[in-house]
C-alpha cells in the first residue's frame, strides 16, 4: 500500500476531486495556528470540500506534537460526527502531517487521510513514506505507526510564506535524496540557490526529488533494509539536533541533516572509498548555504552517546551508519568505531572552518 502522490499547484481543485471520488461521510481539515491563517483561506476559497469541512486547529511547533494535541484531535473527530467513513485532510508542516496522519490511522481503527504539506521540509521528508506519530516521554516520534496517506498533494504554492531558514532546511533533505540518487540530480541542486528557485521549477525539482524517496519506500516500506538509505546524514544529524536542544539553542532539522551529511561523507571517504574531492566540494556548498554547527572535541563523547541511543542503533560498541561509495552508490549497514567518528569530527571541523 503506497500513497498516491500528486504534484500540482492546483491544490484546492485536486482536494475537491479526491474528496468527490472518495465520497466520505464527512470531511475534516487539520491545521495549526499558522496554516489556519496562511494556507486554509486559499483552500476554502477554491474548494467547496474544504469550505464545508470541520476545521481542527492545533498549536504549531514540535513541542506541541504530543499526546495532548493528539487526544484533542481524536476528541474533535468524535465530537463532530466523525465516522469510519470520514476523511481527514492534513494541511501543514511536518507536525501537522505526522500527527494528523497518526490521529487518522487510529481514530475508529483508521479513517482515510490526505496529506498536504505546506513547508518544503514536509513536502520532501514528512509527507511520503508512511511514518506517522508524536513525541512522547521526552523522545521524538516515540509513539506512532507506519501508515500511508490515501493521497499526498505535493505543491510549491505555499512556500512564499516560508522563511529563508525554512526553505534551506527543506533543501538539506533534498540534497540527501540527490546524494542517494546520483551525480546529475546533485549537480542540479548545487547549481542554484534554493531562495531563487521559481514556483514551477521548484515543483519539477520536488517531483524528481520526492520520487527518490517514493521508490525506496515502495521497495521497503517498514525499513528492513533498503529504506535505511534514507538515514544518510541522519545518525550524525540527529546527534547534532539533540546536542543543540540540550544547549537550548535548537537547529532546524534540515540544517542538522546537512551538517550530518558532511560528517558521514567524511566517514565514507575513510571507510568506503568515497572520493575525497567530491566530499570537499559538497562540504563547501553546505558551508556556503548552511554555515556550520559548532562543535569542539569536548562535545565528541556526548555526540557519540546520542548516536548510541538512536533507536536505529543495534550494537553498543560501534555505531551504524548509511554511507556512500560514491554519489548514488549507497553502502547500507556500515559501522564506525568511536575513534573513527572522532577522527571524522576532526575533519568536519576543518572543512567547515571551525576553530
Amino acid at each position: 500500500m503506497m500513497s498516491n502522490v500528486v504534484f500540482t499547484n492546483c491544490v484546492a481543485e485536486t482536494i475537491d476531486r479526491i474528496v468527490s471520488e472518495a465520497n466520505p461521510s464527512k470531511v475534516f481539515v487539520l491545521v495549526d495556528e499558522n496554516t489556519m491563517s496562511a494556507a486554509l483561506p486559499l483552500m476554502q476559497e477554491g474548494s467547496p470540500a474544504v469550505s464545508g469541512a470541520t476545521v481542527i486547529t492545533v498549536k504549531p511547533g514540535d513541542e506541541n506534537k504530543n499526546l495532548e494535541s493528539l487526544s484533542y484531535i481524536w476528541k474533535q473527530l468524535g465530537d463532530n460526527g466523525g465516522t469510519r467513513h470520514s476523511m481527514l485532510i492534513n494541511l501543514g508542516g511536518g507536525v501537522v502531517t505526522d500527527m494528523g496522519a497518526f490521529a487518522a490511522s487510529t481514530f475508529k481503527r483508521g479513517i482515510r487521510f490526505v496529506n498536504v504539506p505546506t513547508s518544503l521540509l514536509a513536502a520532501v521528508d514528512a509527507s511520503v513514506g508512511g511514518k506517522t506519530g508524536i513525541n512522547f516521554n521526552g523522545l521524538k516520534n516515540e509513539i506512532g505507526a507506519f501508515k500511508d496517506a490515501d493521497t499526498v498533494i505535493v505543491s510549491s504554492m505555499f512556500f512564499n510564506t516560508l522563511s529563508a531558514t525554512e526553505m534551506r532546511s527543506g533543501y538539506g533533505e533534498m540534497l540527501k535524496h540527490a546524494l542517494i540518487k546520483g551525480p546529475e540530480m546533485l549537480a542540479d541542486l548545487m547549481r542554484q540557490d534554493v531562495l531563487e528557485v521559481g514556483r514551477e521549477r521548484m515543483l519539477d525539482l520536488l517531483k524528481e526529488n520526492v520520487g527518490v524517496k517514493e521508490e525506496i519506500v515502495r521497495q521497503d516500506p517498514t525499513e528492513k533494509g533498503l529504506r535505511k538509505a534514507l538515514n544518510l546524514g541522519h545518525t550524525t544529524g540527529h546527534a547534532f539536533e539533540s546536542l543543540a536542544l540540550r544547549r537550548e539553542s535548537p537547529i532546524p532539522h534540515g540544517y542538522a541533516v546537512a551538517y550530518g551529511l558532511v560528517v558521514e561523507l567524511i566517514l565514507s571517504v575513510m571507510k568506503t572509498g568515497f572520493p575525497s574531492e567530491t566530499m570537499r566540494k559538497i562540504a563547501g556548498y553546505i558551508y556556503e548555504n548552511f554555515r556550520a554547527f559548532a562543535v569542539t572535541c569536548n562535545d565528541y563523547d556526548e555526540l557519540i552517546d546520542f548516536m548510541r541511543h538512536d533507536k536505529k542503533n543495534v550494537d553498543v560498541s560501534t555505531i551504524n551508519f548509511t554511507l556512500l561509495k560514491g554519489v548514488g552508490e549507497v553502502a547500507l549497514d556500515s559501522t564506525a568505531t568511536f575513534d573513527e567518528i572522532k577522527a571524522a569530527l576532526d575533519i568536519y571541523r576543518d572543512v567547515m572552518h571551525l576553530d
Copy 2:
C-alpha cells in the same frame, strides 16, 4: 499478514520457543492485577523468557482500557529500555490483549507482540483478528488499529480460574462462530454444557472454533466485506449492552451476543427464510444457558437508536444486519426497517419467556 495461531496447553514452553526464535533485545510482559497473580507465576515458573522479562501491570476491567493505561504502558516500555527490537507478551483477557496489542503496534512505530488470552472470551474473540485499541471519549474501541500479533497462543489452561459467567460469556461467541460455520459445529456445541467440558476437549473445540474466525479474517482483514459475517448477533448485542450500561447493570459481552443472536435469527426467519424450527431450538438452548435480557416495548426506540449509532451502520432509516439463510449460510448486508426490528423484538420476548 496474519498471526501465527498456536493451540497448546504447554504455554510457557511455547513462549520460550517463540522468544528464542524472535531473539528480541528485551522482553516485556503485560498483565492486569488479576492475571498477575493467577497466570503470571505459572508462566514465570515454566519459562526463563518470562521470568527474565520486565512486567508491566495495569488495572483490570473495561473501564481501565483507556488512554491513561495506554500511556502508562508506553512509558514503562520506554523507561525500561524498550527498543524497536523488543517484544511484548500480552497475558490476560480482552482488555490486556486489545490494549497491549495497540501499545505494541504504536511504541516506536511498532514492536513485535504475542497475545496469550487467559479468558475463554478473549481466546475466541479478542486475540485473533488484529483489532486492537482502547475506549475513548465515552465510546468503546474508539481509538485503535488493525494489527496482527506475531503469534497468538490459544490455551485452555487458564480457564479454571474463570467464573461460570465468564465461561458462558465466551461460549456465546463460540455459538456465533458455529452458526456461521454450519450445523455440525453447532450441534457439537449445543450437545454439552460449557461448564462440563474438560481441558483437552475445550482446546479441540477452540481449535475448530477460532479457525472459523481465522479463515474469515484471512480473506478480509479490514472488514470490507466477508468479515461482516462476524457481526452476526452483534448489532442487537451491542444495543443490549449499551442499554444495560445505561441502566447501570452491565451484562457480559458474550451474553449480549447470545441474546442478540436470538433477535437476529428471528429477523433471519422474517427476512431471509431461516427455518423457524431451528431458530426456536437455538433460542431454547440460549434461554436455558443464558436466561434472557429483559426488554419491554418501552425500550424499543432506545434500542433502535443505539443500533443507528453503531459505527458499522450506514443508512439512517434502516439498520444493517448480518443475517443467516440457514445455519452456515450467511446473508451479508441485510437491512431491516424499524418496524421489522420491533416485530422481531416482540417475538424475542415471546421465545425468551419475557412478560
